[in-house]
């Protein structure tokens, strides 16, 4: 399974755009990139998934360069409620279990 590396923490202010980059140099051809968000005292929550180029939904955008060795989660105009830990996960969808392999995640702290 591809190992992921992301910053331990990031600070931002309300209204700013936040970009969290994840490195996954050993990503395999069949691997997808999936991001989860975890608020304090809650379980992780799926936010976005992509394979290549750009994916956008109502919560975030995910940018994946052609070599797929990294990905960037972009949160537009963050608010205080976006303070959470963001996890980048890499793996294929064809396994019998598809268990999630969590790293340390990035703690995003949004200030007023």
């Amino acid at each position: 399974l591809a190992k992921t590396t992301q910053p331990i923490s990031m600070d931002s202010y309300e209204g700013q755009e936040v970009n969290i980059t994840c490195s996954h140099n050993n990503i395999a051809t069949n691997d997808y990139i999936t991001w989860y968000q975890q608020f304090p005292s809650q379980g992780p929550r799926f936010i976005i998934q992509g394979y290549k180029t750009k994916v956008t939904n109502e919560v975030a955008s995910l940018f994946i360069p052609a070599d797929r060795k990294s990905s960037t989660l972009s949160l537009p105009r963050v608010s205080l409620s976006d303070t959470a830990v963001y996890y980048c996960l890499v793996g294929d969808e064809s396994g019998a279990t598809n268990k999630l392999i969590f790293g340390t995640g990035t703690l995003l702290a949004v200030q007023p």
């Binding site: 019998a96 279990t97 268990k99 790293g103």
Partner: protein
């Protein structure tokens, strides 16, 4: 739809005692997973049920942990006897399909062994 429900939300027990955690998945979700985060560590996979069958229990730490899913509905995770290093947050998740974007997690059970 109702989410994944875990009970209790907190549990404090003494070393050597037994504790049973319960997870009610989203109705109709055949896949049920247990994960945990022990103090200072990352969230780790414990096991995966498909209906009532254990698909993958490679993450279960030792034989003090017993997971069941009777009738393919709710699941229990029993720790007997509990040790200090079992303290942490235990998460349950369920999914309809076995895809990484399909997980719905519960809020977890915080277990403290003293």
């Amino acid at each position: 739809e109702a989410g994944v429900t875990q009970f209790p939300s907190h549990s404090v027990i003494e070393k050597g005692q037994t504790v049973t955690l319960r997870c009610d998945p989203i109705s109709g979700h055949d896949n049920l997973y247990w994960y945990r985060r022990v103090m200072g560590k990352e969230i780790k996979f414990l096991l995966h049920f498909v209906k009532e069958s254990k698909q993958d229990e490679s993450g279960m730490p030792n034989n003090r942990f017993l997971a069941e899913r009777t009738g393919g509905t709710y699941s229990t995770l029993k720790v007997q006897p509990a040790e200090l290093e079992d303290s942490g947050v235990y998460f349950c998740a369920s999914s309809q399909e076995r895809i990484r974007r399909g997980y719905t997690f519960g809020s977890g059970t915080r277990l403290t062994v003293v």
